[in-house]
Subunit: 120 residues, 2 copies
DNA sequence: TAAGGAACAAACAAAATAGTAAGTATGAAA
DNA sequence: TTTCATACTTACTATTTTGTTTGTTCCTTA
């Protein structure tokens, strides 16, 4: 899944900062275009199916959705619940760790909404 | 400075989310490998020269440092103070808007430090 | 007159992230 | 027996971000 070059400067820098700086560590888990959106939908709606997430995340491709869900699961921020059915039914929800982002997400949302308005 | 393709799906998605989601907007300003670190050093030390930032940001390249400082300045998060001297002296400090990130930075730092410890 | 410091700039290259399009598995319903 | 729905894979391509290297400017001091 990961194709990161073990010893690229980029990768070395990321590791260094993740281990030595709380903020960098935090950002490494929720950074990028989609992860916070996934988290905040799950925060608001508790439990969502794959397709429900897909339709809410306007513009996301299936590949990226699956990829981000996997990464979030590996980092123990979300939980994957598989129902043995046909057609398949898979639900996602936040773990306890995922829930602990709540405050940060709320603050980031407030900051964003406040400052977005200034631009329009 | 920007070489973004006006109508790549990637760019379209970013714009859509920036305009419609506070968190996405926030993240668009502080995301990436270095920006939050720059902000938090400036938050802690008030005012820093170019070289001082460079030496604190272990591993950063000059090109990226300059680029990120420019972006932060354009987004009005930091202020560039030029002293007319030779050799040059340029200082950076947070704007008021930059300062308003304080709470978020602190929370992200706390979250990170707490959860970093669990890994070691 | 040559070297030096601070803060960049420019050309190029590598790495990482995101997107596209087509295909797979499963069993039930038509 | 073919179609259908859901939740993905896979192979490939494009875009974006990050890093490397070398060079510039300007006055100052040796």
């Amino acid at each position: 899944m990961k194709l990161r070059k073990e010893n690229s400067t980029n990768n070395i820098n990321e590791i260094y900062w993740k281990e030595n700086c709380g903020i960098a560590f935090t950002l490494s888990l929720i950074g990028g275009r989609w992860k916070i959106n996934i988290l905040s939908y799950l925060l608001a709606e508790k439990k969502l199916r794959y397709n429900e997430l897909k339709s809410r995340l306007t513009g996301i491709s299936e590949r990226i959705l699956v990829l981000k869900l996997k990464e979030l699961e590996q980092d123990d921020l979300i939980k994957r619940i598989v129902h043995a059915q046909v057609p398949p039914k898979v639900e996602y929800e936040l773990t306890e760790l995922g829930q602990s982002f709540k405050e940060i997400l709320i603050l980031m949302d407030q900051w964003g909404e406040t400052n977005l308005k200034k631009l329009f």
